[in-house]
């Protein structure tokens, strides 16, 4: 049994069912007057069928068990977790604290993931933010959130 395909197939089936219900709510229409949900209906139906086929294949597979935990074996997955958390927090605080503060903190976390010395992490973060601000704000005229200090 291929657990990976089974779990992903189940997830996709749930997505297909959800989209199918949305398509029915929108109205599929008829073949001569297709409605807003016409393409969604057929694509989600096909998607659902394919995900069922995927799950059947996953269950029928006899050669070796492909577990989920093995996907991250021997890898530094903590780097990924820290990075994703940093990305989400950056998103949430960008407008509240402003680009300069949010980005400095974000870059410091990312450089810290690389396990460099503290002064290199902070220095690199500050230099990166300064250069980014100069290039994108002054040269390319992109407006960044200024935060409470109006920086």
């Amino acid at each position: 049994m291929n657990k990976r395909d089974l779990i992903s197939g189940l997830f996709w089936l749930a997505i297909a069912v959800f989209v199918l219900t949305q398509a029915l709510e929108l109205g599929v229409g008829t073949v001569s007057t297709p409605g807003a949900g016409f393409m969604l209906f057929w694509s989600s139906t096909l998607f659902g069928l394919l995900s069922i086929i995927l799950m059947i294949k996953a269950l029928a597979r006899k050669d070796g068990q492909k577990g989920i935990a093995e996907l991250w074996q021997g890898l530094t997955w903590s780097n990924v977790v820290i990075t994703v958390i940093a990305l989400v927090l950056y998103c949430l605080f960008l407008v509240k604290v402003g680009f300069i503060i949010a980005t400095t903190a974000f870059m410091a976390v990312l450089y810290g993931v690389g396990r460099m010395k503290v002064w290199i992490v902070i220095g690199s973060a500050l230099v990166t933010v300064a250069l980014t601000y100069i290039i994108f704000h002054y040269a390319l005229q992109i407006e960044f959130p200024r935060g409470p200090f109006r920086w």
């Binding site: 990075t83 990305l87 998103c91 990312l110 980014t132 390319l140």
Partner: protein, 503 residues
């Protein structure tokens, strides 16, 4: 003469100082992207997409096109020096290129890759110039039935795009179609799957999706791995192939150029497939096939000429039919739409400056790349030494800034991050993002043309088969699907026969 006049007009556009600068920037960045393993042209085009908002449509496309074919030049550098392909179309160059480097012939290998790329790229551009107008004229007769059939043909090639499971590729294409329906319905204007979120009324943007899947996703995958690479230490005294090298590889260059040109036009083809096919062809026709893999110069000349020729010719369906033939050009297609330009048969008529400007800039870009690549190889070698722990945070930052700058909206950044995680999980669970992006880009056109066609023909599907262009195109799509599925069915039948015989 028409094409020649167009080309001269195009040069007047491309040689404007700002467009020349954008061509240069695109070519340099493309080479850099090609040199650096980890981010391919798709990710780079996606990351640069928002930055092009600030410049003209012509300048944007010139820059992004330069990035695309520039990556084909740069990819060979790492393949030859480090045995790690800078991008997918240079994978096969590792086979003989690195072996040549180990034998102290890195210079001629790099030189042949650069010259071969230049010659083939130029031929590809000439083909683009000659075929574009007749093809555009032919496509003006297309109605919704023909466009629907053409898009189905393009989506059928999704099955050939997959490196792994075809079933999963088709699933991802369906997912891309569903995602493309988010937003306001183009016919009834009713909101579809917007869940009351105002930002979704315009749909999900191609840039956050592509940047997430191919930029963020790629970085996340690389963050958890430790790659050590040793660069071949060699002096680059002589970057020019010898007379014997040219004699040995002249037919490889010709065949690679032709294979690349035709595969580049086909949806699902492109530089990656072209490079593999041309290498296989060279090995097949060679009188000494055993030398391939040990440092044969033909093993560098063929794939490098094929991928550059394909990179040029793949613009033909994009610019003339409005059908992006591969995922990189799908993102470039998004760049056109963002600037309010629709690629297709009317592009030549409505925006001749853009069309001919891009074609002419490709000539200039090829010259720039030939000049850049050879003398700057020692510099690219230094770039390769930038530690990943410095490089990846910078890539993430560019993605964030780029996504934010599109609409000054954190929502786009969030979408990008979500797709970044999705892209990462795709790699883990062996799904591919390319079919999703291709279907995502073609989805709105498919939906609109299908519904228009059914409205016009009052629900009759027969109309798709009574119109000759539509019928032939759908027939071709069916044939391709059958040939893709046949080997699988044949294997199953053989397996059942074996079991039956055993019993």
């Amino acid at each position: 003469m028409d094409a020649l006049n167009g080309l001269l007009y195009g040069f007047s556009v491309a040689l404007q100082p700002d467009n020349l600068l954008y061509c240069f920037i695109g070519s340099v960045l493309g080479t850099l992207v090609g040199v650096l393993p980890g981010i391919g042209p798709v990710g780079a085009i996606s990351i640069l997409l928002p930055i092009t908002f600030k410049i003209s449509a012509t300048g944007s496309i010139i820059m992004l096109a330069g990035l695309y074919y520039g990556a084909m030049y740069g990819g060979s550098t790492t393949s030859i020096l480090v045995n790690i392909p800078g991008e997918a179309a240079s994978v096969i160059t590792c086979m003989d290129g690195y072996q040549m480097a180990l034998k102290g012939r890195a210079g001629p290998a790099l030189g042949m890759a650069a010259f071969g790329s230049f010659i083939a790229g130029t031929v590809g551009i000439i083909g683009l110039m000659l075929f574009a107008k007749p093809l555009s004229g032919f496509a003006l007769d297309f109605g919704p039935h023909e466009y629907f059939a053409l898009i189905i043909l393009g989506l059928t090639f999704v099955t050939y795009l997959s490196h792994g499971s075809m079933l999963k590729s088709v699933m991802m294409a369906c997912l891309g179609l569903m995602l493309s329906n988010i937003g306001l319905d183009p016919i009834t204007s009713s909101p579809r799957m917007t869940f009351g979120i105002l930002e979704l009324f315009d749909g999900v943007g191609i840039a956050p999706v592509a940047m997430g899947l191919f930029g963020i996703g790629e970085v996340l995958v690389n963050l958890e791995q430790t790659i050590t690479q040793e660069i071949v230490k060699t002096k680059f005294k002589n970057l020019f192939p010898s007379k014997l090298d040219w004699i040995q590889s002249k037919w490889a260059l010709v065949r690679g150029t032709l294979v690349g040109f035709f595969l580049g036009i086909l949806p699902g083809g492109g530089p990656v497939l072209a490079s593999f096919m041309s290498y296989g062809l060279e090995k097949r026709v060679s009188k000494e096939p055993q030398k391939f893999g040990t440092g044969a110069i033909e093993g560098v000349a063929a794939p490098e000429s094929a991928n550059n020729s394909a990179a040029s010719s793949s613009f033909i369906p994009l610019l003339t039919l409005g059908i992006p033939p591969n995922v990189s050009l799908s993102v470039l297609f998004g760049a056109f739409l963002i600037h309010g330009v629709t690629p297709g048969p009317l592009l030549l008529k409505d925006h001749p400056d853009l069309f001919w400007g891009v074609v002419s800039s490709m000539y200039l870009g090829n010259v720039m790349l030939l000049v850049l690549n050879l003398p700057l190889i020692p510099m690219w070698v230094q770039v390769l030494k930038i530690p990943a722990k410095l490089l990846y945070p910078l890539i993430l930052l560019f993605c964030l800034v780029g996504a934010y700058s599109m609409n000054n909206s954190v929502f786009d950044v969030m979408v990008m991050i979500i797709f970044g995680v999705v892209g990462y999980l795709f790699r883990k669970f062996e799904y591919e993002g390319a079919p999703l992006v291709l279907a995502f880009v073609l989805g709105p056109m498919l939906d609109l043309n299908l519904r228009q066609a059914l409205l016009v023909s009052e629900g009759s599907f027969l109309a798709f088969f009574t119109r000759p262009i539509s019928a032939v195109t759908l027939g071709l799509a069916a044939l391709l699907l059958i040939t893709a599925v046949l080997p699988f069915v044949a294997k199953k039948v053989a397996k059942y026969r074996e079991v039956a015989e055993d019993q």
